[in-house]
Symmetry: C2
Subunit: 230 residues, 2 copies
């Protein structure tokens, strides 16, 4: 059984809506599980018997075409929720991009628990609404933005979302380390790896950013970058 009171994401995950008593019940239902980088937790189209909270690491949500083309439709960080409550099949695959740890629940048991705990359900609703907003803005990026705009938008969003992780909690971070490589960036932006790479190289030579190592990004001119994001 889990000791939720010492959970790292205790106050950020949806569990934060629960009283100590309720947490005890939920703790009995969940179990911690490590996921190796590259391992797929849920497969698109398969029955998905579980939902989970992310404790550590970064995972991707992927929709694939029959011929193998992939589009990443979501990136999941610690304290985020994964899985599809009130649904049977997983609408996308969930794969770890880094070594990760999740707190897993049986979906039916979770659904029942949620139905009896309106506060938890409201937290889930708020999160889902936020995700939907994010997804819809991403649709604008995918459908209407140029490669340059895509990459600029991506870097700015990453500098925001990775801020929670690091130390500088002052809004957004200019220097950060991406938890994944170029191909994944391409799969997020609906581009090829070559186009993605070329955009980054161009931005580097234009002095907008520097690339200290493969996965590190330092935004040197945020104003110009925001201009570029369209």
């Amino acid at each position: 059984m889990n000791d939720c009171s010492s959970c790292i994401v205790r106050n950020r995950a949806i569990c934060s809506s629960l009283t100590p008593d309720e947490l005890l019940i939920l703790g009995k239902m969940g179990r911690r599980q490590k996921v190796k980088a590259g391992h797929t937790l849920l497969w698109e189209g398969d029955d998905a018997p579980v939902v989970a909270n992310v404790l550590e690491g970064v995972l991707k949500l992927v929709v694939a075409a029959s011929d193998g083309r992939e589009q990443i439709v979501g990136i999941v960080f610690p304290s985020d929720f994964i899985g599809r409550p009130f649904g049977k099949e997983s609408p996308y695959s969930v794969t770890a991009m880094t070594d990760a740890e999740v707190c897993i629940f049986n979906r039916n048991a979770f659904d029942d628990f949620a139905s009896e705990h309106p506060d938890l359900q409201q937290k889930l609703l708020r999160r889902t609404l936020d995700e939907l907003d994010r997804a819809r803005h991403w649709m604008m990026l995918l459908g209407r933005k140029s490669a340059t705009e895509k990459v600029a938008s991506f870097l700015l969003e990453m500098s925001d979302r990775l801020s929670g992780q690091g130390c500088n909690a002052d809004g957004s971070l200019n220097g950060f380390e991406l938890p994944f490589g170029r191909q994944q960036i391409a799969d997020i932006l609906g581009l090829t790896i070559e186009t993605t790479s070329r955009q980054l190289t161009r931005m580097k030579s234009d002095g907008l950013l520097s690339l200290p190592s493969r996965r590190e990004i330092v935004i040197r001119n945020r104003a110009a970058m925001e201009e570029m994001a369209g």
Copy 2:
């Protein structure tokens, strides 16, 4: 005050979770409003003081870039819900594509009501989860599919979603009338109007469909269309 018991979308809208007593209270909060085709109900980025149920007509959710490019990120049909509960700004514009009628609520009043009615909140959660799934599959289309695949996918989805409206409730309809023109199709698919038109013309000459009038579509070879959708 509204008489919800006679509402056309009574059993399909989120209100269907409510008892007659509750419905009476909600009925007092809402008011019916007609919206002319082309009129914008909510503006992206503005404070959105209302949420609503769609009674009649079709509306679009639009995200725009600073230079005017538009991406349609959602299409809303009768019995669907519009607006952003638990949030202040509207993350996108909501514009009527046909003459429409909605049942409008003050957002704060609705949020409070929802917080006290878990069943309503669960209905809203389920709907939001469905919308999110749909949005994410649309991301795959926008990011990874070719123009041909986009148009084919679009026609197939429309034939499904418009079925509820018509008489043939046998799954999906091969002949249907789109509630909007070519430019809107382009804005849904992340294409230009010219490319969209060319794809349709090609499909027509390939015998996949016929175009009896501007807005009517008849799918003549569904199997081939599904093949094309990728």
